[in-house]
Assembly symmetry: C2
Homo-oligomer: 132 residues x 2
DNA sequence: CTCGTACTACGATGGATGTCAAACTACGAC
DNA sequence: GTCGTAGTTTGACATCCATCGTAGTACGAG
């Protein structure tokens, strides 16, 4: 699927995002978010877990607060997929990178979808835990 | 992600599925359906289109009734992914292979999810058509 | 039995994807 | 400035995946 290549060549001049600290991160606009990309992003167990965790706590979480069974570079990769698909918003705060669900945008584009997905994931988690 | 290999070695003796004609097709049981697999299946534009079409007409459709921009072998591939993920049920009727959504099973496992997904897909189709 | 239709199976292929290790950058604290 | 923490980048690698073409199988009609 044609994932648009993105560039990180902005010098210190091009700070487009209003982050609390430097370093801008490319996010798709709400209108650019594609359902297929969202579904693809959530079709990976680790990314689904991240999103569920993010939904459970209402607040934003830094990448390091997740206990994931992969290395740091893989973690970076998964968070980037989630961001570039439009599922989460990432902002630097000092040395930490805070992650938050883009609830509003997703609800606008696909009403009810995120909640259904989270409910489905929760249900399955229970089902798998009970079933052994 | 680990798709369980399946076999098609049942001789003329093992007709497990109650098809109108021979040839059985392996389907996952309802309890075996995984959310991640469903999302992965639907994250492909062609497969999403198939599912939308299948939902629009309430009836079952044969593979050849879809006008897809890929060859026959690729079409076979996509239908198999949908079947093996538990999204559709396939049954042979004569030389045709009829496809139907597994609405009941999916609703049982993930209440409301399929409708949200279909609504989201429909909404996006409208949005993309209008936006050019 | 033969033929046509509908679909499958089997490679092959180019591109995406998940994973890691190692080296690197950015920031806050001291 | 130096150090440690947090996250990135790069390159490598194995696997997966969508796609195709060609050859093959299954079934109904004649």
């Amino acid at each position: 699927m044609g994932a648009e290549k993105r560039f990180r060549d902005e010098g210190p001049a091009a700070v487009t995002d209003i982050a609390t600290t430097g370093r801008a991160l490319p996010h798709p606009e709400r209108e650019q978010i594609r359902l297929e990309s969202v579904l693809h992003a959530l079709s990976d167990p680790i990314r689904l877990e991240i999103v569920c965790e993010l939904a459970a706590r209402e607040s934003e979480l830094s990448c390091s607060q997740f206990d994931l069974p992969v290395t740091k570079s893989t973690t970076t990769h998964h968070f980037r997929v989630l961001r570039e698909s439009g599922v989460i918003r990432q902002v630097y705060r000092g040395t930490a990178k805070m992650n938050g669900l883009r609830r509003g945008d997703l609800e606008d584009l696909f009403p009810g979808l995120l909640d259904s997905l989270l409910a489905a994931a929760g249900r399955q988690a229970v089902r798998l835990r009970e079933g052994g």
